[in-house]
Symmetry: D2
Subunit: 132 residues, 4 copies
């Protein structure tokens, strides 16, 4: 039987988007996944602030990995995000996902995105189990 770590590693090995953005796995337990992404210059605007879309993208990736770590591969059906502080160029972003609820085909996962000690965003995703 595959461990949570094996399942997430296999997903990461085939994930072209994560490869292109340099997203790496920080830690994995069942339902809990932490990912790390460097902030490329092209992710920030003229004032050195990271586009919120990249925070969402990293959080949504952590959401998907967290579902897979539970053996529940899912697609995001709906998600919401609150932006609490701007990210800045030149430093890594970290997303920590924690599955909150498994109910039928639905999985709800909460993700915090941080930069250093600062909380940048709170994401909640609702996924639907992929049919197999």
């Amino acid at each position: 039987m595959s461990t949570a770590r094996d399942l997430v590693q296999a997903l990461h090995d085939s994930d072209a988007v994560s490869a292109s953005l340099g997203i790496s796995i920080d830690s994995v337990e069942a339902g809990r996944v932490a990912l790390r992404m460097p902030v490329a210059d092209a992710m920030a605007n003229g004032h050195g602030l990271v586009h919120g879309g990249y925070l969402f993208l990293l959080a949504d990736t952590a959401f998907a990995y967290s579902c897979v770590s539970l053996g529940r591969p899912s697609v995001t059906r709906t998600a919401d995000i609150a932006f609490l502080a701007p990210g800045r160029a030149g430093s890594e972003l970290v997303a920590r996902a924690e599955a909150r609820t498994e109910a039928g085909r639905t999985t709800i996962v909460d993700v915090r995105v941080t930069q250093g000690d600062e909380l940048l965003a709170e994401f909640r995703g609702h996924g639907t189990l992929v049919s197999r």
Copy 2:
């Protein structure tokens, strides 16, 4: 006095993220902005499906442009997105933003993301006016 088009064009001219992703302006009226983005190979996974994070990023950009077109430059405070169909590599995405509500410092904007005739996602953003 600047027109909606002038305001949005000025924002686009200084928007390094849009430049890096090839996001272009399709049309502008006050409160309504349509943007277009080619799907690069690096935006899709092994099955040729676009990462939802890029749909969010395009929608969030259209949200910001729509606020600016009203003379209400805003940062996204919260946003939610529903994914209705997957995007596919090799074809442009279009985001059509329409401001729905202006209430005090809050602006609510709805954005549809489409690919050809297909509706991929519905986004709603709540923005806070940038202090000046």
Copy 3:
């Protein structure tokens, strides 16, 4: 074939919650339903401000009626609401629902809740078609 009005009227006739709260139908077209609810004293706190839960309840009812008006009876799967101004005791609330998107089994409906000329809340509901 039943008209939108007939479908909504039949739902209202069997809706014990609407009866108990005095919710009445203002207007119906396919996908668009307006409802009206008096503010009872028990809906407001000591300062005469209406509990946001009743704004949500009215909006969610308008959501369900709007789905039925399309011949798509649905249960609310997820909903979000933004509170823009407080409601006050002693005056009716009106909820105007407008279906935005029908995609497979999903229906997205937007609802504005007003009191007189003032916009109190913006609601978006995502429904799933009831199996028959």
Copy 4:
């Protein structure tokens, strides 16, 4: 200095909506509040299913109480709810709120609504500190 319990009790003593619906306090710690509400017949439709609006109302009340328990009285700015299973007449509902994030004037609180052992709804509220 007031304890979390004192702060919440004082709010409850002046809360006419909670009194009218029979909402009682189950437990209080700083940031964590559990409330209980009986399901009146008037809260359910003809099939004995509780209107989702009452689940939201109970969750939103637990949200407000949780903010107060932290000494951060707040109004709900936005909230989202996912309905996972229907509530049924004749049995109490319980809402367990847990503050997740305090960032500037924003407080994010997650609330689970259950009936017996069953999870009915997951609510997330974003509050703004009341000016004093």
